[in-house]
């Protein structure tokens, strides 16, 4: 039998995966992890003007309740070990955004003796946001990209090989 016109208008049909992903992507709590000047832009992004809270992302001060780490700023070798430690304290599923040139590849300070050129040498990164520093719009775009990625994930059904995104 056809389902068309058999259910009331208030009913929304979806898959469990989609609903789960929608709830998860709408509450991405990010850990405050400002390392350098990019942190100023991250604060702006969380502030009232660009308001990352619109997308359900609110700052957390501890890795234990965070879903996302936004590495914003120059990562020194000294800090790299601590970054890894903090990332490992986050509960799964967890994501990482690398914000700005320094976190992406070391940026201006790439050749300095004290700088780790790229946070992806230490932790897996989901979204890279270019810029020096990126404007709040760019970081917001990065979060939206991450939400897209979360929405595509399949927890209950393994997607067929041909359907990989």
């Amino acid at each position: 039998m056809s389902l068309i016109n058999t259910v009331p208008e208030t009913v929304v049909t979806s898959t469990i995966d989609d609903v789960l992903n929608w709830t998860r992507k709408s509450s991405v709590w990010y850990m405050l992890f400002g390392l350098a000047c990019c942190a100023i832009e991250m604060m702006q992004t969380g502030g009232p003007r660009s308001d990352l809270d619109r997308f359900g992302a609110v700052p957390r001060a501890t890795p234990r309740v965070s879903d996302l780490i936004i590495v914003s700023g120059t990562l020194t070798l000294k800090m790299a070990l601590r970054t890894k430690l903090l990332y490992e304290q986050m509960p799964d599923p967890k994501y990482a955004i690398s914000m700005g040139s320094c976190a992406n590849c070391g940026g201006l300070f790439q050749l300095a003796y004290s700088v780790c050129d790229g946070v992806d040498k230490v932790i897996p990164v989901d979204v890279y946001v270019p810029g020096c520093p990126p404007r709040p719009e760019a970081l917001t775009e990065g979060l939206l990209k991450l939400q897209d990625k979360i929405q595509q994930e399949r927890w209950l059904v393994r997607a067929p090989e041909s359907a990989t995104v």
Partner: protein, 165 residues
């Protein structure tokens, strides 16, 4: 008080420990024997007519060609609005200086920085740990013959030079 007068008083107090001759230069530098620098600083601070109550800066220069490390002390007096620079040269292989952290408490961190980056050993400091680099770092990175380690805790520090096109 001008630099020549400061120089005269310092020589009166310390005698041959003052190595340089007086100049009229506004940015005059007085060269001292390494062993007498703490005594000189104590005198410069405590004498009411000199009253150098501020250690503006303490820095070191690696003069590899002369096998010397120069340590500079930039002093300023808020009371009298005069300033002076002290310079001491110590052997590059084993640079040892008496601490001035007992004269100006701010010297504590400045000396730790000089120790960290240049390897100057301040005798009597009491807490001469690295300030900027990681605790287990090997070598002093601002020395001219510093060789960058290939990796730090599994993080590779080898990277393509940005200058190479």
């Amino acid at each position: 008080m001008d630099a020549a007068e400061i120089h005269r008083r310092l020589r009166e107090k310390l005698g041959n420990a003052v190595l340089s001759e007086p100049t009229e230069d506004e940015w005059a530098t007085i060269e001292l024997q390494p062993a007498s620098v703490a005594e000189a600083c104590r005198y410069l601070k405590d004498d009411p007519e000199l009253a150098f109550d501020c250690l503006s800066n303490l820095t070191a220069v690696d003069r590899k060609s002369d096998d010397l490390i120069d340590v500079y002390y930039h002093l300023f007096s808020y009371d009298h609005r005069h300033k002076i620079t002290l310079r001491v040269s110590c052997p590059r292989l084993d640079p040892q200086l008496p601490t001035v952290s007992t004269v100006w408490p701010f010297g504590d961190w400045l000396e730790r920085e000089a120790f960290d980056l240049m390897g100057v050993n301040f005798v009597g400091h009491g807490d001469l740990r690295r300030l900027l680099m990681p605790e287990d770092w090997v070598g002093h990175p601002l020395r001219k013959d510093f060789v960058e380690p290939e990796e730090y805790h599994g993080i590779s520090t080898r990277r393509e030079s940005l200058l190479k096109l």
